[in-house]
Amino acid sequence: MNCTQCQTEFDRLLDGRLDARTETLLRKHLADCPDCGAAWRDYEGAWAAFVSVPEIEPSSNFAARVMSQLDHVEREMPARAWFFPLPWRWVAPATAAVMLFAASIGVWMNVQGVAEQAANQELATNLPVVQHLDLLKDFDIIANLDRIAPLPEHDPIEEMMKALWNS
């Protein structure tokens, strides 16, 4: 064991957490190495001084005083529970959730209103066409609209006009 290894084990030696083999090696090094031996004596001595400082004694009626507080605490707690039924830590998240829900409802109703307004606008614009279609309802052409072949994607007349223009 070298000096660095030795001094990194001081805490474990002090706390009695070293295995027997390591402790034997460490003790041997401490006996052989004057520097590590002196460092260990200081380290151990400071800890021993800290541990040797006497503890203060609790007052003889300390436990009784604590117990006498319990009735007072018990009386206080139901009143607090009545005034503050929710733990404070839930108040902020709960408020945020309610506000978010209300905002979502507002946005949804607003979107519904805009969509309805757009539909009404479109109906008003196309009303003459719709009325005209109503008039044609009795004819087969309206009844069989879905059977009519779709228009070609390229209009031959338009293509011819474009060719003439380009030439």
């Binding site: 380290y43 800890w47 400082v53 503890e55 300390f62 436990a63 117990m67």
Partner: protein, 195 residues
């Protein structure tokens, strides 16, 4: 499932059993008062704060979950109480915990003054009293995390794993904190230790 005896007592407390609570108060009063005393430096105030700690235990009894040892839970409350006191004093600097304890009537003596070698050798009792003062001063000068870790190790002989839980840090950080604190104590107390 079986728990350690203190956890069993606390489970009874959580059901409102006052006798179990009193047993815990009697068992832990000394170590709680001493741990707080080494942080605040005033025995009367330490008792008041310790009383608040136990009242807090009673108030929080319904929230207690036996996921950790009772002592870990208790000393987490003790530490929070001490931290609150430190913060309260920080707002009133006249009572600051960090102010070094200055001895002597003049109040101007350097805290780490080296003993005068020319003076007559003091008695054993005087040396021991001096060393106690220096230990108190050195402890008060440690950062809060180091001081708390040292007190838990000294008064409670708490395992490092449990200290780490109370301090809310990793095991390796706890080991490092304790090593640094011991090294500082060694440096501060070295002039007062016997050769």
């Amino acid at each position: 499932m079986s728990f350690d005896p203190d956890t069993e007592l606390m489970l009874k407390v959580s059901r409102g059993n006052r006798a179990a609570f009193e047993a815990l108060v009697v068992k832990y009063q000394r170590v709680v008062i001493n741990t707080i005393y080494r942080s605040v430096g005033d025995p009367a105030e330490a008792e008041d704060l310790a009383q608040n700690v136990f009242v807090q235990v009673w108030k929080s009894r319904s929230r207690y979950k036996p996921t950790a040892k009772f002592s870990t839970w208790l000393f987490t409350i003790v530490r929070n109480m001490c931290l609150n006191e430190v913060r309260r004093r920080a707002r009133h600097p006249a009572d600051s915990l960090d102010k070094p304890i200055v001895d002597g009537a003049e109040g101007g003596e350097s805290v780490w003054q080296v003993p005068d070698q020319r003076a007559k050798p003091p008695s054993e009792e005087a040396l021991a009293a001096e060393l106690r003062k220096r230990v108190d001063t050195a402890l008060a000068a440690l950062p809060e995390t180091q001081r708390t870790a040292m007190l838990l190790l000294r008064h409670q002989n708490m395992p490092y794993e449990e200290i780490a839980k109370v301090m809310r840090c990793s095991l390796s950080a706890t080991k490092s904190v304790i090593h640094r604190a011991r090294a500082i104590l060694r440096d501060q107390l070295k002039p007062y230790l016997r050769p």
